[in-house]
């Protein structure tokens, strides 16, 4: 049971990394990256191949993040004039192209057989303690990433990025380099996806194209939506909630009598869908609401029903 929990906790850490990247690109930058899983795969394959070629693991991980970031920036540059739905469609297609490339470029990726025997760091030394070590390592990385992102999003960079998300023309007139900000946001998101993929590859020691399917992208969007799509805390809490839900349904569905394995699997998917609908109905902002930078002047307590708004409307006669 303990080893099961450690495994699940580690997976939650990977999901948190991906979610943090999505909050950065989508929640803060307005860039809908439905090709998230493509960058996860890119990072996983980059790291696995470099590791297979004998490079040390920390180089593999940095390279995985860098390759994903570079491809992400390049993709974002090519589709720089697309937003919203159109960007979502292009990124969705892009992830599918990557998956097909992983399947068909057998000389490099061994096709649908996948790559096995990927080196797990220090596993020979740690033996049974490896799982705990990897759990801690993953969550330390989540902590570092969250800390740096939080710093960045509280800086003028974050403010400018949120302006680009809300209204590109206003941001441009305010003197902000809209394209640069979009590329940076998308690139950082892609880098975190790549890092998450690399961590996964060295954890399970096996990757194949059918690991990196769109369902994972949907899961991460679900996690971020449940947690609060603009908030870093929301990304982590949402990921934990998602994993809890995915695992809990496994047990609960098995309790329903008279179902075979396929039906149980379907019931889990169904439960997840119902949860998403409930969250969207009951708390559309997610667990953590959007937060704004405070002026520190302390004169007003804002909110949707702020009395100042109403009073001003009366004053104004409009």
């Amino acid at each position: 049971m303990i080893s099961y929990l450690i495994f699940v906790g580690t997976i939650a850490g990977f999901y948190s990394l991906l979610s943090l990247g999505l909050v950065k690109a989508w929640g803060q930058g307005g860039l809908v990256n439905l090709g998230l899983v493509g960058f996860v795969g890119l990072g996983a394959y980059t790291s696995a191949l470099l590791s297979g070629a004998g490079y040390p693991i920390w180089i593999d991980w940095i390279a995985a993040s860098a390759v994903s970031a570079a491809v992400g920036v390049a993709l974002c540059f090519v589709v720089r004039n697309l937003r919203g739905d159109y960007l979502a469609i292009v990124t969705l297609g892009f992830a599918e192209i990557l998956r097909l490339a992983e399947t068909n470029e057998k000389w490099l990726t061994k096709g649908s057989d996948g790559i096995s025997g990927i080196v797990a760091p220090l596993k020979n030394h740690l033996g049974d303690n490896f799982a705990v070590f990897y759990l801690v390592l993953t969550w330390v990385l989540v902590g570092i990433v969250a800390f740096v992102l939080n710093w960045l999003l509280r800086s003028p960079f974050g403010r400018a990025l949120r302006a680009v998300r809300d209204d590109e023309q206003v941001a441009a007139v305010a003197g902000k380099s809209v394209l640069r900000l979009k590329l940076q946001a998308f690139g950082i998101g892609a880098a975190l996806s790549g890092l998450g993929g690399a961590l996964y590859a060295h954890f399970t020691s096996y990757i194949a194209p059918d690991v990196f399917i769109t369902q994972l992208t949907i899961y991460i969007f679900l996690a971020v939506t449940v947690g609060g799509y603009t908030r870093l805390a929301g990304a982590v809490i949402g990921s934990l909630a998602l994993i809890a839900l995915l695992e809990a349904t496994r047990f609960v569905a098995a309790l329903v009598p008279g179902l075979d394995a396929v039906q149980i699997a379907s019931l889990r998917e169904f439960a997840i869908a119902v949860t998403l609908i409930l969250v969207m109905q009951l708390r559309p902002d997610g667990a953590f609401r959007m937060s704004n930078e405070r002026s520190g002047l302390g004169a007003s307590r804002p909110g949707p029903d702020a009395c100042y708004g109403k009073k001003a409307v009366l004053d104004d006669g409009t």
Binding site: V173, E293, S295, A299
Partner: protein, 258 residues
């Protein structure tokens, strides 16, 4: 017209959208340190010319020079950074951001906007933020927006949105501002207040080019009035001169005299 003191020069701008000729050879210049009115009937191309100057539209021919540099078809952020900042007619803004964030956003040359600088020089960024914060407070107090600083812009009244349009333009520390109907849809008391603010801004040395339909305001504020009609420059002069011009009366009032 003296060209030596011209801060902004617009030379023969032509722009069409589909089959519509929005601008058909518009030329004029604006002297440094003046408040200039830009008037003309609806569809004369006033807002379009603002869009061309500020870089939001780049499909036009002709030249725009600001402060000695050619800024024709420059990107909007480049135009704004050169010290020429515009406001929007339909007060627009970032719906999920507060008044305070809008003011801070417009601060020029912010070191913390680069990923690298934001992470590596926290001291410099903090100092700049403090300074910007003080300036935001000052502008907010001046425009009586200090009590709504932490409200989302979507919670503001129409008049407050207009004031914020002016406020954030000021935060950019501009040499010149392009104001697109700053008084449209604002109640009469507030109009007087905005007019006083604009006069004060003009006195502080900022050049203002102002689109406005409210003739009393143009008369009260503007040193110089430019009249456009049908996408072209029609005439310019003092308020009394242009309003006495029969061509202006004809185009503005749509009356065929004689």
């Amino acid at each position: 017209m003296t060209t030596s003191a011209s801060l902004l020069e617009v030379d023969d701008i032509r722009a069409r959208f589909g089959g519509v000729r929005a601008l058909d050879g518009a030329s004029f210049s604006v002297e440094a340190g003046t408040i200039t009115g830009l008037i003309g009937p609806n569809g004369a191309g006033k807002t379009t010319i603002f869009n061309c100057i500020s870089g939001l539209v780049d499909g036009f021919s002709g030249a725009v020079r600001f402060d000695g540099a050619d800024i024709s078809r420059a990107r909007p952020e480049v135009v704004s950074r050169s010290g020429l900042v515009r406001s929007f007619q339909l007060a627009r803004g970032c719906p999920l951001m507060t008044v305070f964030e809008h003011l801070m956003l417009y601060g020029p040359r912010q070191a913390g906007e680069g990923v690298f600088r934001a992470l590596t020089s926290p001291g410099a960024v903090r100092r700049q933020e403090e300074e910007l914060r003080e300036r935001s407070y000052a502008v907010a107090r001046r425009l009586r927006l200090d009590h709504v600083l932490d409200n989302l812009v979507t919670d503001l009244s129409g008049g407050q949105k207009k004031l914020l349009e002016i406020g954030r333009v000021l935060l950019a520390d501009p040499k010149m501002v392009l104001l697109d109907e700053p008084m449209a849809g604002v109640n009469p008391t507030l109009v007087g207040e905005i007019a006083e603010q604009l006069a004060a801004i003009g006195e502080s040395g900022v050049t203002i080019l102002l689109i406005e339909h409210e003739m009393e305001l143009i008369e009260r504020l503007c040193d110089d009035v430019i009249v456009m009609a049908d996408g072209k420059f029609l005439t310019r002069g003092s308020f009394d001169e242009v309003t006495a011009d029969r061509r202006v009366q004809e185009s503005y009032l749509g009356v065929q005299l004689q």
